[in-house]
Symmetry: C2
Subunit: 217 residues, 2 copies
């Protein structure tokens, strides 16, 4: 555990991307893959792939590359997907529903076990296979399910309180879609995913590129 | 234009976050903001804020900080939000709908002007205020709207073809939610947002943190 804590966020993200790419590959007939092939699939350099895999103690042969199944297993084990991780989602609006739909049955080891909302119409219903509860039941349901991960898709104004309740209930990792910076204790990992910010960035570079195209034409 | 092309992706992302944070601030009575205040709102260091703003030629006074309205205007102008940017979205499933709902009227200068789908049930309807067309009309509609940005929320298997058609129609920036690496010409900016990968990362660190908590308790 001490060793794995030194691995950076970026490496974890790439390992997760390698795993996804390998999933697709292993559906085919190919049994081995070279670092440059995996690199191309993931949009990184071959040296980066080799460095990342070395950091979790995995190496291939220069003649045959990496054994796909072995590599998949190693990365999955490293990412802790030997055991199931339980996830709850708070805020079952459009985005919440989309995420429920997206995650249900997509990942064998990341299981969305409950949803929460304040809207009576959504409470005690099963939405995309996930039972939805009143926010007032959060502490009980999170604890009973031993959920470690919380996804926040509530409006901005409710995000901080939601995070506090999730953490109080035992959650140690939060994926936050609300456009607000959450304050949480040091033992909680937070990833903010502000889709608006990402779209602004794309729009910025799209504009630059369009201007350049116009100049060169 | 040449100068702005040197600004990195990360800086653009942070500038966009500063802008969002300033929007919230300017609703209040505060007229000025210090770099350390803006830094705290955005989860970065004060030095980072000062560096980023200096890189677009903006500086404050050490006594009063930055003028909020002036700073907002400068960042917005820099990000190119003087003129409206038109966005299309391909794939009106759950995620596509959630994004339409999310973006409609949220951003004064980023306008989602059309949606596309292959499903007859969704074609020629107005969903969350956005007219949806058949994919076969993509070239015409993108060109007529002079859309520069495309959001891809189609299934994995259709993502590459969708990207090619968007680029062919004149799009120069793509926000891709499909878990696949797109191949596009060099003049097109692509941002991949694989929500599954992000959740895996959060789950990984949630697991580490939970283990640590257990050890220290």
């Amino acid at each position: 555990m001490t060793e794995s804590t030194k691995i950076s966020k970026k490496v974890i993200e790439r390992l997760s991307e390698y795993r996804t790419a390998l999933d697709e590959q292993s559906a085919g007939e190919q049994r081995n893959i070279f670092s440059h092939e995996l690199a191309r699939l993931c949009g990184v350099t071959a040296a980066q792939v080799r460095r990342d895999l070395m950091s979790i103690g995995f190496s291939g042969s220069s003649a045959k590359g990496y054994d796909i199944n072995e590599l998949k297993q190693t990365v999955s084990d490293f990412l802790g997907f030997g055991e199931e991780r339980r996830v709850v989602l708070v805020g079952i609006g459009h985005l919440g529903r989309a995420l429920l739909d997206f995650f249900v049955n997509r990942h064998p080891k990341l299981v969305v076990c409950a949803g929460f909302d304040v809207n009576e119409m959504r409470i005690n219903r099963v939405i995309h296979g996930v039972r939805c509860y009143a926010v007032s039941e959060m502490e009980r349901v999170v604890a009973e399910n031993r959920a470690q991960v919380g996804i926040i898709t509530v409006p901005e104004s409710a995000a901080q309180e939601t995070a506090e309740r999730l953490v109080e209930a035992g959650v140690t990792g939060v994926l936050n879609f609300a456009p607000v910076q959450l304050r949480v204790p040091g033992h909680v990992f937070v990833e903010n995913l502000n889709i608006s910010t990402v779209l602004e960035k794309v729009a910025y570079f799209a504009g630059l590129n369009a201007d350049r195209e116009r100049v060169t034409k």
